[in-house]
Amino acid sequence: MHLVQQILFIILAAAAIYIFAKKVREMRRNILLGRDEDLNDNKGQRWKNMILLALGQKKMFKRPVPAILHLFVYAGFVIINAEILEIFLDGTLGMHRLFAPMLGGLYAFLIGFFEILAALVLIGCAIFLVRRNVLKVKRLNMKELNGWPREDANLILITEIILMALFLTMNTADQSLQKLGAEHYTPTCPFWITSNFTGMFAGLSAGTLVAIERSCWWLHIIGVFAFLNYLPYSKHFHILLAFPNAYYSKLMPQGEVKNMPEIQNEVLYMMEPDKAPPAPAEPAEHKNFGAKDVTDLSWKNLLDAYSCTECGRCTSVCPANLTGKKLSPRKIMMDTRDRLEEVGKNINANKEFKPDGKQLINDYITVEELRACTTCQACVEECPVMIDPLSIIMQLRRSLVMDDSNAPQEWNLMFGNIENNMAPWKFSPDDRDAWVNG
């Protein structure tokens, strides 16, 4: 019997890890469809950002209530996963609570600590469900979340509640079995929480208790494997990508827009042909100015899209969104991810990307949304995992204006004025210093 369970466990674990790794490789491939960008400078600052922002969740604490609840769930999730190591070894080796004899009193302390975290995760997730579905916190109930994103969020919370409930029930049954002196159930010191609940199972036979304990053990680990494979399809993938995303985040001042050396050189070539770098021997294939589709964006923009957990802090501070415009920085990130996934599926099906007549601009993000942005960087400032929606907006705007000559009439007038009068308004350049006499 033990051997069957062991073999089953090993097959299950191997399959779960294989499928997960395959999907992660696919996501990595998708991210690398983006334009190349070297972000390996200043490693010290990058590590610091990762530790403070991803591990330390520094920006989350601007909003203390969700920050504390999130910290419970996050700490619980990360630390209880240490217990997965034991579960994994137990399952593979056909043992039970392998570490208990080795760690002695420390073992009960650790499990007790995990139990408290599990209870906090449970409470945290329950409050999050209430915030989403009963209190209807505004940023968690906007129309871009209709359908799958809303279900995704609830599914994550419910799954975590179930996993924690299974973990706690398993320990309660284990404690009851220890009291009965059942075979295999190594006696430990009482676990902090579940030792108080053994009354729940009073009067049950050892056989029933073993069945409960084993069922919980299996359901819990199956749940964990299933959840692992759910992550890549969900907003919840941020628990992993928050780390690289914080590491590779923009280090320059937030106000700075990335230079476009190709256009700088073109202007230089026009003004001082002798100083411009020589044109490449073979003309490069035409690249868009700015971005029309996800493959024109930088790989970091695409990593941003996969890192987004759709919390909507960006949108909740966006002046355009707050005054009823269509722009929502969160939607920019969700659209980018949706389009990237679509391109990825296309590649899976056709070996290489087969043009599908669609692109990020127009088919996902409308011109009206892009034109509403004031470049105020509030969204960039707000994102706890250092996503930069403004970078995508800017690149899409460049494509609209430079590739498609698609600008509102007033902007075309402004461009004309700058070009001819050296000011965005129609004033004579000769009057630029007229204020001196005013």
Partner: protein, 258 residues
């Protein structure tokens, strides 16, 4: 007051202490011209040897770049950097946070390296050094003031305290809006929005922001950007509060109190 052009300095073989970059709004917009004059009055009183570029100054290209017209931005940048480097300019002060951001962050990659200061930081240093002395019981003593962080001075470049320190020197009561510092809300002009109609929505951004400022009960809304000044003034007018609440640039407030 005599305001000298850079070309005049160059002709006499002199260098000014600092180049005052006026910017398009400061040069042409009637409301913003008042800020420009106020700032030059301060420089003049303190006895700082400054120059302007006069007719040689051009738009930095900021609205073009942020609207997506990188080509036009690069043209403007090329010309401005050419002019500034030709004069050997080292130090620049400007009354516009958009120009400031371009000089500080975006011209260096194009060969334009200058020490640039926003006028509020410049004024704070003059006050700290005792070069600007504010009258006791000046025009703003005891008045309630709120301060609007512009995006490109605040979030864009992390300058939150210098302008506040200047305001505190007035012996006034500074009341913060709910959204201030890194959480400050845009006036609605950035990203070249100043030059087009807002997209369709429930209200205008400047109306909302002005309302937030009015909620503090302040009678003066202090700003650091000619575009914010215009936007907030319109927002205050929309609430018909223009008789009791004034939107002023910090330079104007300093000039009035010297």
């Amino acid at each position: 007051m005599m305001i000298k052009n850079m070309s005049e300095y160059a002709a006499s073989g002199e260098m000014p202490e600092v180049l005052f970059w006026v910017g398009c709004a400061g040069s042409f917009d009637q409301r913003a011209q008042k800020i420009t004059r106020a700032f030059t009055q301060i420089l003049d009183k303190v006895g700082i040897k400054f120059a302007i570029l006069g007719k040689e100054e051009m738009c930095t290209g900021d609205p073009a770049r942020r609207a997506g017209n990188e080509f036009l931005f690069q043209m403007m940048a090329y010309n401005n950097i050419h002019t500034l480097n030709g004069y050997g300019i080292k130090k620049v002060v400007t009354i516009c946070p958009h120009c400031f951001n371009i000089f500080k962050n975006e011209y260096p990659a194009l060969g334009g390296n200058y020490e640039v200061m926003h006028h509020t930081t410049f004024l704070q240093q003059l006050i700290n050094d005792g070069r600007v002395k504010l009258k006791d019981g000046g025009a703003f003593k005891g008045k309630k003031i709120t301060y609007h962080d512009s995006c490109y001075l605040g979030r864009g470049n992390n300058i939150y305290e210098a302008p506040r320190e200047v305001l505190q020197a007035f012996d006034t009561e500074l009341i913060e809006m709910k959204r201030c510092r890194s959480n400050g809300m845009c006036c609605g002009a950035g990203g070249a929005q100043m030059f087009k109609e807002e997209e369709a929505g429930a209200t205008r951004i400047n109306f909302d922001r002005a309302e937030q400022a009015l909620e503090t009960g302040a009678t003066i809304i202090a700003a650091n950007c000619p575009f914010c000044t215009t936007m907030l003034t319109d927002g205050v007018k929309n609430k018909e509060k223009e008789d009791t609440v004034k939107v002023m640039d910090i330079a104007e407030m300093v000039a009035m109190s010297m």
